[in-house]
Amino acid sequence: MQSISTPILEADGIGKSFGDNQVLSDVTFSVAKGQFVCIVGPSGTGKTTLLRALSGLGPANSGEVRVNGRVVVQPPAELAVVFQDYSRSLMPWMKVGKNVELPLRRLGLSREERRKRVEQALRDVDLGHAEELYPWQMSGGMQQRAAIARSLAYRPEILIMDEPFASVDAQTRADLEDLMLDIRDRLGVSIVLVTHDIEEAVYLGDKVIVLSGRPASVAASVEIPLGTGRDQIETKSRPAYLELRAEIHRMIMRKSDTVAPQRAPR
């Protein structure tokens, strides 16, 4: 599933500032079909800003984002976003099934087809039993699964996730990480996951984009040759994993000392 030639998502020289405050400068990377790319950087580096630019929610001031070769000006149809704050991203007045169904309404599907897709998406995240529950009747981990199901239901090619597991407990987090690897393997969807957690980035990614500096740019793009079938315990004790984790850690430490932006190595 790794790095197949044509990129499905390209960020090309993304720059973004809010007034005088430049947040991103010349951010460039690409995501191949089926690739799992993690964007890692310390809090406040502009990861969320980058994600909003990638997804068309907050267009960049300079550079461009391309999805399947087309320049993104508003959220493209082949892209779905999972937000950090799951408790606010699900509608509390709708049962989980209705939440998942909501984005499907525009597709002009029959009622039956919509139902099938909802059931399928919920099964994909192991929530087959939860269709009739309200979001607030579920745990945080289940709510985030439901949000993921809503994104999967309309079958996107790219899933963009903003610190999706930041507010769940460690065990749930590990489960959700494995779920995302499994979803990528089964559905072939490309995933871009933004996180401040280096361990998470290395464990999940085929490629880790290290974001740092102020304004932030790509400090490094690190291929993670850990293969498929990763395991929370086995993978995380392999020397290659530990080495990559340390290497990225050093990059972030070193980079955050310097203030001036540097060109990203390509």
Partner: protein, 253 residues
């Protein structure tokens, strides 16, 4: 189980005690202004169960329910439009606040001049007062939709109709209901005021007439009836709200 009984009985105890107190204290009363409650109750029974209901109660409820109904439809409809259009909302904001604080009773003389003392005039007066709380609350509720939901809607490319009907309106509904409750209270007041000045039927008219004829037990019975009706309307509204906003209560507990 005992807890449920307590919760049901507790709010009834104070009114029951007060009625008992009133009943005993007024028992031997010879004052024509404060007749014995027993006497009031007797007249209440004779008049309102159900002799005059058709003449006065139906007329009053008509003003309140039609007036409130129109206010809700107009207020929620306009409120959604204004709430979704920042420019229009900003432009008409001061006008709305002006209208809200202009007492609708101040327009009674003009309304009577223009429309006479018929039921249409009374409905108009109710609408002129009851529209604003529900309208302004709807605008606030619609504008207050959480930005996270805007992101969800955009990234999922929801159709505008789904966005409004399935996200904006439910999200604003707790505030819309608060507005409707305020509008109901205003409606009852305006129904009564418009009947004092411009009616030949209705509970307000009845109370004024009986006072003029020194039929004070009858007047008291009208006042009690008015209170009971207002209370019952509020109870009905609360039940509707409980049902409609079930998710809201539960999601916060």
């Amino acid at each position: 189980m005992t807890q449920r009984i307590t919760r049901f009985l507790l709010p009834a105890i104070v009114p029951a005690l007060l009625v008992a107190l009133w009943w005993m204290a007024s028992a031997g009363s010879t004052s024509i202004f404060f007749p014995p409650l027993a006497k009031i109750w007797q007249r209440f029974h004779e008049l309102w169960i159900f002799d005059l209901v058709g003449e006065h109660v139906v007329s009053s409820l008509n003003s309140v329910l039609i007036g409130l109904g129109i206010s809700i439809v107009l207020g929620v409809g306009l409120g959604i439009v204004l709430g979704l259009n920042d420019a229009i909302a900003t432009a008409v904001g001061p006008l709305l606040q002006f209208m809200r604080y202009l007492p609708a009773v101040a327009m009674l003389p003009l309304a009577i001049q223009l429309m006479g003392i018929g039921p249409d005039m009374r409905v108009l007066i109710v609408v002129l007062g009851a529209l604003w709380p529900v309208l302004l609350n709807t605008v606030d509720g619609v504008r207050g939709v959480h930005p996270a939901l805007v992101d969800v809607a955009k990234s999922n490319r929801l159709r505008p109709i789904d966005w409004v009907v399935r996200v904006v309106v439910p999200s604003a509904s707790p505030q819309i209901f608060a507005g409707i409750r305020a509008s109901l209270a205003v409606s009852v007041i305006l129904m009564f005021a418009s009947e004092l000045m411009g009616a030949s039927q209705g509970i307000g008219y009845f109370i004024l007439e009986t006072q003029r004829q020194f039929s004070l037990p009858e007047m008291w019975s009208g006042m009690i009836l008015l209170g009971v009706i207002g209370y019952l309307l509020n109870v009905i509204l609360l039940l509707v709200e409980r049902f409609a906003l079930d998710w809201h209560r539960e999601s916060r507990s």
